[in-house]
Every structure is written in C-alpha cells, then in structure tokens.
C-alpha cells in the first residue's frame, strides 16, 4: 500500500521529501500568523500537517529501497553540510508525529474554539505549526547541533502553547514557566554535551562522529559529553527524576495541546536519546553499556512504580494521565536499558502504542471538557450515560494503559516482559507486573465514576446524550479503535519497531 501511495507523489517532490516534511509546516506558520480569524488559520495548519503526512509514503518507499535516505541541505555534502537522514529508526517516529499531528489538528477546531480567545487563535495555530515542524526536525536531522536547534524550536513553541491554557486556568502560566526553566536547563546541558563531542571529534555530523569515535576511542571528553547529553535529553523525555515539569504542563494546557504533546514530544526526545546512544556512541562501549543497565533500567523501573503510585492519588483527571505518561516513559527506558535488540524493539513498540493510547485518552478528556467543563476526576461522574461514545473511547484507552489482553497495551508489555526474561531480569518482570496493577488502580479510579456513578442531577432532569462535534469524534474514534485493531493486526507496528531496533543495533 505504501508503494501505491508513494507512486502517486511526483518524484520531484518525493526526492525532497525529507526536507519538505519539516519546511512546509514552517513556511505555513507565518502565513497562519497573519490570518484574520482562527478558522482560516486552522485550515492552513491542516494543510501543513496534511502535506507532511503526504510526504510519508515516499519516505517509506525510499527507506525500503535504500535503508537510508540522505538529503544534503544546501547542496553541501555531509559531513560538512547539514544532512537529513531517514532510516528505519526515525521513520516510525516521523510517521507517528505526522499522523498524530494530523488527527490532533482535525480535533483542534472545536476544541481550540472553546478554550482560546478568538483574537489569539491565529497565532496559536502558527505556534502549533512551528512546534510540529520542530518535532519533525529533531526526528529527521543527522546533525547533532541541528538536533539542539530543533529541540529549542519545538520547546519554545511548546512553552507558548501551554501558556495559552491560561484562559481557563491561570496555573497554566506557572506550569509553563516551570517547564521553561527546566526545559532550558535540559537543552543547555544537551548543547554542552554536543560541544564536548565537537571538541573531541571535530565534526557535528552524527554519522561522522560515530566514525571518529570508533577510530579513536572514547576519552574522558566524550564520556563527559555522554553524561550531559543523557541528562539533557532525559529531561525532555521526562525520565524519572527529571519529570517534574510534566504533570502540571499537561494538566493545564489546552486539551488539544496536551493530546498532541503527550503523544509526540517525549517520544521524539526518547528517539533522540536512542540515536545518540546507539548511532553516535556505540552500545558496546563500557560506559554506555553500564549506563544502560544502571541508569536507564533502574530509572525506568523506579519511574514505573513511583509515578504510577503518584497517579493513583491525583484529583485532577489530566494529572492522573500525566503521571501515567511518566510511568510509561519508564517502560520505554526499561526497554532501552535491557540493551538487546529485543529490548529496544519492545521499548519502541511501547513508544508507538503509548502514543495511540494517550492520544485517545486525552482527546476523550477534551471532549468531556468541551461539553461539561470536566477537569477533576469526580467531574467524570455519569459520563457513561451522557456521552457514551466518548466514554467507550476513553475506556479503550484506559484498558490499553493497564495492558488488558485484546489491547495494544498488552502487546507492548508482553514484548517487554519477553525481552526482560531473555536478559534474566526477574526483578524487571516483577516491576512490570506491579506497575500494571497500579495502572489498574488509577484507571479504575477514572473509569468507575464514568460508568458506575450517576451524573449530579440539576433539578432532577435525566442527563441527555450530548453530541461531540464530528471533527473531534472522528480522530478520537480512530485512535481508540487503533488501540484494539493493532492488537489483532500487530504485525505492521511490531515490524516497524523491530526494523528500527535492528537498524540501529547494527550501527548508523
């Protein structure tokens, strides 16, 4: 199917697909910024995101043909010029960001119209396009400093997007400010690490760095660079002790922003971490190997348990899901920490599945908020009767989080357990099962009011079924059904994850 779609795109476009993916949303952003009203800006945002999705089939075709698609920006060949490389590792990430971005943009029109003032909507969509382009840029670039530039582009626009939630709740401002301070510290640590790598290797191109490091060995400068890069990207990926910005940022941002960020931002940072770990530094090097076992696996396990416990005690519904996101990032870190191709594949599989789960969940919460202004867990009472379709979507996502069989959550946890068992890590399996039980606890806390409690009656009237705008319902339905569909047809996603892991385990 990909080849058929790829053949529809003219080859003149297809050969520039790696750069058009990033640049078209970027050029549409200033166009959207000067539009007179939010609706036209939304149309422009939708065009930008749709274009990116259209650029995906040529990339799939290219990577299938050549294993690596390399694009030299400005005609300057690597390693001097900035090069965009698409291989089996970042192709799933690009597809994920593109498709989730498209679904979220469809979802955005009614949701943003409800939450953001009319005068600010054009700039809001322009900022979203910049964030989208930035995330894609992190995923597609092959130059280490370019990663920093795009990380900052996406982060700065994220701070703005989160603060737009101040119309509903002023705590969005402090949440965005705290995220700004922490995120900037993280990005600065990352750039210090890149500086050390540049000092040691003399080049900024990641493939070239890998070559130089392989030839010359890893001295203390590269080790220090490694430490800085892990801390910097770990903060962006919400790795356990560095996650404190996430709950508030996701809880108070506009619902569309939360749905988009929860599915993409931390995933892209996690991808960047994998890229540096495996494609610049080699996983067999002692300190990288040690850090996999003693940093990522340990931190991931702690995150799985502690964040799940914290999720159980939250009163704000989106905070529950935000802490759950931190726990799920812990799963991915554990997969990374296992260090084998199976572990990495399991981690990447969970990355993709989690994006679908959280996308559906946050979209459903946004639909609840649109109709009823839901923000706290007890506000969810009675939603099963008032908004049955949305509640079903929410339930699918929640069951997926727990890892109930018949959902994709089960698939990825299964693969994680298998990979941990192969490594002989019984404690990791125990932690996975424990955190699934904890997930059951907090998901039950969310699902019980929806299905088993009655809505607070206002004057004794029976709550009637409220409709959700179709622009919101369709993306939410797609993501919720994907949770079930990809359990039965798991092959495409599992193969993507395996292909990514194998591509990267074999070196850049």
């Amino acid at each position: 199917m990909m080849e058929l779609l790829g053949a529809l795109i003219p080859s003149a476009l297809a050969q520039h697909a790696p750069v058009l993916l990033v640049v078209v949303p970027l050029i549409l952003s200033p166009v959207a910024a000067v539009m007179p009203n939010g609706r036209i800006a939304w149309v422009i945002a939708l065009i930008g995101v749709a274009f990116t999705v259209l650029m995906l089939p040529p990339l799939f075709a290219g990577v299938q043909a050549d294993a690596v698609m390399s694009y030299a920006l400005g005609g300057w060949a690597a390693p001097l010029g900035i090069e965009y490389r698409v291989d089996a590792l970042n192709l799933p990430i690009l597809a994920l960001v593109g498709i989730i971005g498209f679904l979220c943009t469809l979802y955005a029109l009614p949701s943003v119209a409800d939450e953001v003032d009319e005068g600010k909507r054009a700039i809001f969509y322009a900022t979203f396009l910049v964030c989208f382009a930035g995330l894609l840029g992190v995923a597609v670039t092959g130059d280490a400093f370019n990663v920093f530039v795009f990380v900052e582009i996406s982060s700065l626009s994220t701070y703005g997007l989160i603060a737009m939630g101040a119309g509903r709740d002023r705590r969005a401002l402090t949440a965005s400010y705290n995220y700004l301070v922490l995120g900037t510290i993280g990005a600065t640590f990352f750039v210090i690490g890149v500086g050390f790598l540049y000092m040691a290797t003399g080049t900024l191109n990641m493939a070239d760095m890998a070559r130089v490091l392989a030839e010359n060995g890893h001295d203390r400068v590269t080790q220090a660079g490694f430490a800085f890069i892990v801390v910097g990207l770990g903060l962006k990926a919400a790795m356990f002790p560095l996650h404190v910005w996430l709950p508030n940022a996701y809880a108070f941002a506009p619902n569309f922003v939360t749905a988009f960020l929860a599915s993409t931002a931390t995933k892209v940072a996690f991808y960047a971490l994998i890229r540096f770990l495996f494609s610049v530094y080699h996983p067999d090097v002692t300190f990288v190997d040690l850090s996999s076992t003693w940093v990522f696996a340990v931190v991931g396990t702690i995150a799985m348990i502690v964040a799940s416990v914290q999720a159980v005690f939250q009163t704000d519904a989106r905070r529950v899901l935000a802490y759950s996101s931190v726990a799920q990032v812990g799963y991915m870190m554990l997969g990374l920490g296992i260090g084998s191709a199976d572990g990495l594949a399991a981690g990447l599989l969970h990355l993709m599945n989690h994006a679908m789960m959280k996308g559906a969940l946050f979209m459903a919460l946004g639909a609840f908020a649109l109709n009823y202004g839901v923000s706290r867990v007890k506000d969810l009472a009675g939603m099963g009767k008032s908004m049955p379709a949305t509640s079903v979507a929410f339930t699918f996502g929640g069951l997926s989080l727990v890892g109930v069989p018949l959902t994709i959550g089960f698939t990825s946890k299964w693969y994680l357990i298998l990979a941990a068992l192969e490594n002989g890590w019984w404690w990791a399996v125990a932690a996975l099962i424990l955190s699934s039980l904890l997930a059951l606890a907090y998901v039950a806390r969310l699902l019980m009011p929806i299905w088993f409690e009655n809505a607070p009656t206002h004057g004794g009237a029976v709550p009637k079924v409220q409709r959700v705008p179709w622009l919101m319902a369709v993306p939410m339905g797609i993501l919720a059904l994907a949770n079930i569909y990809f359990f039965f047809h798991a092959a495409p996603i599992v193969n993507l994850a395996r292909g990514a892991a194998n591509a990267v385990m074999g070196g850049f």
């Binding site: 640049v23 970027l26 050029i27 200033p30 000067v34």
Partner: protein, 147 residues
C-alpha cells in the same frame, strides 16, 4: 524649557545614525562580525529609543504594531521562501548556487545569503519590537505622574 530637551535633541540626531549603523552591520555580515540578527536588534533599538524618549504612542504611530507583526511573519517567509525558490529551481533546499547563473564567482551564494539575512533582519527587528510593545503596553501599576 522641556525637561527632556537634551535627550530629545540628541536622540533625534542619533536615531538615523543608529539605523544606518544597523544597515552597515547587516551588509557587513559577509565580511566580518555582523549579519541579520545583530542588525535586527540594532534596528529595534532605534525604535525603542524613540519610544523611550518620545513616548510609546509616538513610537506606535511611527511603526504600528500591526506592521511589526507582519514584518515578523514576512521575514520567516522570505527565509524559507528562498529555500523553496531553490527547490523550484531544481536543486536541494537552500542550495544558493542555483539562484544566479554565474557559478564561477559564486554569485548565487551572495544572492542567497543577502536574501536570507534580509529575512532575518526583518524577523528579528519586528520580533524585538513586538516584544517591546507587548511589555510596554501593559497597564502600569504606578502611573507616570506618580513617580
């Protein structure tokens, strides 16, 4: 005598020179320290100085906020537009060589850099102005007369 007479006279002399200096820095970026970002900031400084001395309303009459916002968008559009122009001319994104047929003297690179730096100048000066207007337009806690 107006209490700020010296400031007003000196700034009227200096502001045009600041703008000229900004243009100098802009075009000198090829050959020395300079370029779009620095020039943009200096240009914005000229307008901000005008606002500080003559009042925010006068500055907003001189460079309206809508013009500043449009300038910000225009600059990004120029920069990425140059990239698209190179794409349409058949080369890779931002490959300036195709912008001008004279390959031996690399005129394409010259044109390309001049255009993108123009975009950077527009965006940076406009963004600095937008930020200044946004901050300065907030209703103050203490009115000017009460200082």
């Amino acid at each position: 005598m107006s209490p700020h007479l010296i400031l007003r006279v000196v700034s009227k002399l200096l502001i045009p020179m600041i703008v000229v200096f900004a243009l100098y820095v802009q075009f000198h970026g090829d050959f020395g320290p300079g370029g779009g970002f620095q020039a943009g900031v200096v240009t914005a400084v000229a307008v901000i100085l005008y606002a500080l001395i003559f009042g925010l309303d006068a500055a907003k009459a001189a460079v309206p906020p809508s013009v500043a916002q449009a300038g910000a968008a225009l600059g990004v559009f120029i920069f990425v537009g140059v990239g698209f122009a190179t794409l349409f001319l058949g080369a890779n994104f931002l490959d300036y060589d195709v912008l001008h047929p004279n390959y031996e003297h690399r005129s394409g690179q010259h044109y390309g850099i001049l255009l993108v730096e123009l975009g950077v100048l527009s965006t940076v000066s406009s963004v600095m102005l937008v930020i200044f207007y946004a901050f300065a337009s907030r209703v103050p806690d203490i009115k000017d007369e009460e200082w």
